[in-house]
Amino acid sequence: MTKAISVSALTKKYGEIEAVRGIDFEVAAGETFGFLGPNGAGKSTTIKILCTLADPTSGSARVAGHDVVRERDTVRRNIGLVFQDTTLDNYLTGEQNLRFHADLYGVPKAAFAPRLRQVLEMVGLWERRGSVVATYSGGMQRRLEIARGLLHAPRVLFLDEPTVGLDPQTRVSIWDYINELKRREDITIFLTTHYMDEAENCDRIAIIDHGQIVAIDTPEALKASIGKDRVQISTADDEAAIRALDDVFGVDSGVHEGLVTFSVESGEHFVPRLFAGMPVAIRSVSVSRPSLDDVFMSYTGKTIRDAEASIGDRNRRIATRFGRR
């Protein structure tokens, strides 16, 4: 089957600033693929190239089986987009916004009315379709944009930071809609995010930093790749606990921040054995799985927040020089 997206040696320079430095990856049809990285890593630039809003400096990209530069209109017919900033007309109603989209994309007139109903029902906005968009909340606007992106039944849906700026409750409900969408339609989803928990929703993620992909795999595999779970216990007698861990379980441990800390595979299975076999009383226990934050840190040497701070300036330079088209 043709890959939904395939990218080869993609590079993008803005003047002397290299936003994307030669990335390669493929996304299979029906996958949910995520680009995880700090702001300024090159996520938005990559998505712009894939959406035909920007031309690559070198390299190539194919979306839905067509080249993004040479077959631009064909690519556009087959993709839907939800941008980071709202791109709705606030003065028109929800339905008018969608009608505009339908005419722009050439959705056959006979299909429009039922399809409109279907997508709006899916995001729960059918009742509010006649209200002007300015009266919608942030979450509703994002949902309307998702509905609009789907109106012409694209093969690939691009979501650029889909839940940024929304409250936690809305973020969860947006993902409910996206999962519902995946259940109903045969669609590939490509998203960019800097939220770790959002990346967990993906089948596979690519970690991107400074314009390069540093890792691609499933979230579980990435987390497993960096090691074991961290278990911390507070005990009545730390010295005895450390000895016991070594003698009974063969585990090396040390005291960090007042807690006896050690690493084991599959911490949640280890803990019952720990309680069964530990001679020393345990007051509390915590098991930490490696998070994507840990993954990011191990691959790039810093946390996502640190990375964002240092790239912020460069981002501003790009923005002022080239604006937003």
Partner: protein, 302 residues
């Protein structure tokens, strides 16, 4: 073409079936009909926005009304020395002020592109599988239509300026307003193609609009001017539409041929009188040229 399979379901009602069956949407190959459909929706959006934005419609009329009634009345005694009997100063400046009434609306329609760019909606249009020319043409047609509606409101005030409500005259004026507003919107869209911020666009508007108006001969006849002013007025594109409009009005006024000759002498290039047809053709040509430039600008990708 994108077609979808119907997902399998277990037990569902008819209503649910209607909703769970993914509606097949096949977006066809791009064709001229599709592009025209895009032109139509961009055009219609301008009309919808105009309908809902009553405030803009009213404020756009303030300036021409001020010019006609305040300036027109205030200056009429001073001007009466230069005017033959039977011609009111207000009548004289009416064609020019009518042209001005579409000036602002046209530019503001184009300004909405910069607004859309700042607020994202432009990207929705730029990423669609539709030719850029369709978007630009739709915008210009929309701006022209909306501005002409404004002009029509001002045209209704013709009687106050002692301009007769002759159907042929009104039709001529409406036609000229359409041509003017299309050209002005094209001019605005051409500027908007490059400008990223609304403040910059507004500043540019201030820079152009009043000079365009003052140099068009809307407020004074085009003959007997010092050389530098003569040259400047001939460069102003607005001149080439104000003069035909004034000729049309004067053709329907009960005044002597001498009066017509003094007040509406036509545009002269080093003594040669520019024919009406050529005058209008110049405006049309400029409109087409600016449209072409605007389309070329919008076709550029990052």
């Amino acid at each position: 073409m994108a077609t979808k399979d119907i997902p399998a379901q277990d037990t569902i009602t008819d209503d649910e079936l209607a909703l769970t069956e993914t509606i097949r949407v096949a977006v066809p190959e791009r064709s001229v009909r599709h592009d025209l459909r895009a032109v139509s929706i961009v055009w219609r959006r301008e009309l919808i926005r105009f309908r809902t934005d009553r405030l803009r419609a009213i404020t756009s009329l303030v300036q021409p009304v001020l010019f006609l009634f305040v300036l027109g009345t205030g200056l009429s005694r001073l001007a009466s020395h230069g005017l033959p009997t039977g011609v009111d100063f207000k009548t004289f400046i009416y064609p020019g002020v009518l042209a001005m009434s579409v000036l602002f609306t046209s530019i503001f329609s184009a300004a909405s592109i910069v607004w859309d760019r700042e607020f994202g909606f432009l990207r929705e249009m730029l990423v669609a599988p539709v030719r850029r020319w369709a978007i630009v043409v739709g915008k210009c047609l929309g701006g022209a239509t909306v501005a002409t509606f404004q002009g029509l409101i001002f045209l209704a005030l013709a009687g106050v300026a002692h301009v007769p409500y002759d159907p042929l005259l009104l039709l001529t004026l409406v036609g000229e307003l359409l041509l003017l507003s299309f050209t002005l919107t094209a001019f605005g869209v051409m500027m908007a193609a490059r400008i990223k911020q609304i403040q910059a666009f507004m500043a540019l508007t201030q820079l152009f609009v009043l000079p365009l108006f003052f140099l068009s001969g809307a407020l004074y006849p085009l003959n007997g001017l010092p050389a530098w002013l003569t040259v400047l007025t001939r460069i102003d594109p607005l001149t080439y539409i104000v003069d035909p409009m004034r000729s049309a009005v004067f053709a329907h006024l009960p005044v002597s041929p001498l009066a017509v000759h003094t007040l509406s002498p036509g545009i002269t290039w080093f003594g040669w009188v520019v024919p009406l047809g050529l005058s209008l053709a110049i405006v049309a040509f400029m409109g087409a040229a600016m449209l072409a430039i605007a389309i070329a600008e919008f076709r550029k990708t990052e």
